[in-house]
Symmetry: C2
Subunit: 284 residues, 2 copies
C-alpha cells in the first residue's frame, strides 16, 4: 500500500470514529484482548491501555467494563487487572457468572456446573444437588472428555434439557496463541442433546441492558469497544449502541468483510480509539 493511501485510510477510520463519538455519554470496554492479553501468570497489558483507561476516567464519560471472563471470580479478576496497572474496581465490572446466578435463583434451577474452579466462589450458596440444568463457562483444561461427558449425561437425562452457556465466544488470544472458548463446547453439547443453549453474557441483549441500566444511560448514548466483532460489536449494535472494534486481541483481518456484522468504527488499539474519541470531544 502506498504511504498516502495508508495515511488516508487512517484519516477515514478516525473520521468514522469521531462521528461515533457525537453525543457520547458513556463507554463500555471489553477487557481481554482490549486491556490485556491473557497468558502465563497475569498475562500482559496491551501497550497504552492502562493510560487510555486513566484518560477515560478523567473525562466526563461514564465508564463500565464488560467481560465474558469466567475463569475467575470478579474479585480475583479485578485484582489481576489492578496488578497490571489498571484503575478499576469490582463494582464497575459486569461478568456472566453473577448474571447466571440471578437467572438460576429466579427460575429455581439447580445447576450442574462445568466451570473453572476460580469462578466457583461466584456460585456460593447455589444449590447444586440433583441438578436440573447445566451451566458451562470457559472451563479450559477442565473441558476434559470425562467432564464434558458428565455434563452431557446430566443434560440427556433431563426431560427438558436446559443448558446455560456463559458467553458463546469461539476462541481468545493468549500470549502463546489462540485458545478455544466456551462457545465451542456449547455447540458440542447443543449438537449432542438437540438443544439450544441460553447464552448469559455477551452478546445477550439482557446482559448489555443490565450494564446500561447501571450506567443510567440510553443505548444511543453509549459506545462499546471490543476486539470480538460478533460478541462485542454485533451484540452492542443489536442493543442500539455504537460498536467500535480494536485491532488487538482476537481481531483478524477477515473481520472487515464479515457477512453480518460491520463495526461502526475501528482503531489500531484502545489507546488510539480513546485519543480520537476524547480529542473530538474537546473541539468546540
Amino acid at each position: 500500500m502506498r504511504a498516502g493511501a495508508y495515511r488516508s485510510g487512517i484519516v477515514m477510520a478516525d473520521t468514522k470514529l469521531q462521528s461515533c463519538a457525537t453525543n457520547l455519554k458513556g463507554v463500555i470496554l471489553d477487557m481481554c484482548g482490549v486491556l490485556y492479553d491473557s497468558g502465563a501468570g497475569d498475562g500482559v497489558a496491551i501497550p497504552g491501555s492502562v493510560e487510555a483507561v486513566r484518560k477515560l476516567k478523567a473525562s466526563d464519560l461514564t465508564l463500565r467494563f464488560c467481560t465474558n471472563e469466567t475463569q475467575a471470580s470478579r474479585k480475583k479478576f479485578v485484582a489481576k487487572l489492578q496488578r497490571l496497572g489498571f484503575d478499576i474496581s469490582v463494582g464497575e465490572v459486569f461478568s456472566p457468572a453473577p448474571a447466571a446466578v440471578a437467572v438460576l435463583r429466579e427460575r429455581g434451577l439447580r445447576p450442574h456446573l462445568l466451570v473453572c474452579d476460580g469462578v466457583l466462589p461466584e456460585f456460593d450458596g447455589v444449590e447444586t444437588s440433583d441438578p436440573n440444568c447445566v451451566v458451562i463457562g470457559d472451563a479450559a483444561e477442565k473441558f476434559s472428555y470425562a467432564n464434558l461427558n458428565e455434563a452431557f449425561r446430566v443434560l440427556i437425562g433431563l426431560e427438558k434439557p436446559t443448558l446455560f452457556s456463559l458467553g458463546k465466544g469461539k476462541y481468545y488470544k493468549e500470549t502463546d496463541g489462540l485458545s478455544l472458548d466456551v462457545g465451542v463446547y456449547m455447540k458440542a453439547l447443543e449438537y449432542a442433546c438437540d438443544v439450544e443453549a441460553e447464552v448469559i453474557g455477551k452478546p445477550s441483549a439482557a446482559f448489555f441492558r443490565s450494564v446500561l441500566n447501571d450506567m443510567a444511560l440510553q443505548p444511543h448514548e453509549v459506545m462499546m469497544i471490543g476486539d470480538d466483532l460478533v460478541n462485542d460489536i454485533g451484540g452492542a449494535q443489536q442493543c442500539g449502541m455504537k460498536g467500535v472494534q480494536v485491532r488487538t486481541g482476537k481481531y483478524r483481518p477477515s473481520d472487515q468483510s464479515h457477512p453480518t456484522v460491520t463495526a461502526d468504527g475501528t482503531a489500531d488499539d484502545l489507546a488510539r480509539a480513546v485519543d480520537v474519541i476524547l480529542s473530538c470531544r474537546r473541539r468546540p
Copy 2:
C-alpha cells in the same frame, strides 16, 4: 398398553420388516449397539446376536459389517468381536479410517491426527509432518482441552481449513451409560473455525457405496440394520437401501417421532430382525 394392543404392535412391526425383506440379496450390519455394547474390556455381546450372525451367514444373503468404530484398527477390532463369539473376518468389515487414508492419498493431504492410539496403525505410512488438514476420530479420553486446542490451532492457521471427521455420531452406549462420539467434537471445531467438516464413514453416501460395490449388489437389494436412526437408517435410505432400526444400543423411544428419518422397519433386537427376515424368505 393392553396386551392385545402390544401383540398387534408386534405383528405390525413384523409385517413391515417382512415387506423390507422382499427381493433382498444382502444385509449390512452396524456393529456397536447391534452386535455388542462397548464398555470395560471387550464390552458384551447383545443376547442372540452371535447366533443371528451365524444364521445370516448360513443363508443365501450376502453379509457385510459397517462401523464408524475408530478407536481400534480393524484387525484388533475384529479380534475383539471374535472373542465375543462372532464369526467375522477383517475383509467383511468397513470402517472410516481406511476410507480416510484413501482420500488423503488421493488429494495429497498431510493430516494432523486427533484419533485414538488404537487406530493409528491404519495411518501407517501417511505423511503427517507440516499438516495441511485435520482428521478427527472417536478419540474419547484423548479429546482433552489441550489436544482439541492443538487441532484447532492447526486448522485456524491454514489458508483453507480442511477438517475430516470419521463419522458424525452424537453418542454411543457403553455398559456404564452414554458416551460422547466424534460428531460432537466435529461440531465444536466447525464452529471454532467457520468450516464444514467432510464426514468419512456413515452416513456418507460415498462410504455406503464402497460397501455396496464390494457386495456387487444394487442399493434396492440391500438392507442396513442399525441402532442409529440418522447415521445408519437415514444414511442407508439416502443411498436407496432399506433401513431397519433395532431397539438396542443407542435407540431411544423418541427416534420413532424423528422429524426427518423414519425407519422402513423396526425390531426389538438383531435376533428378532434376522428371524423375521429369514422366516419370510423361507415362505413359498
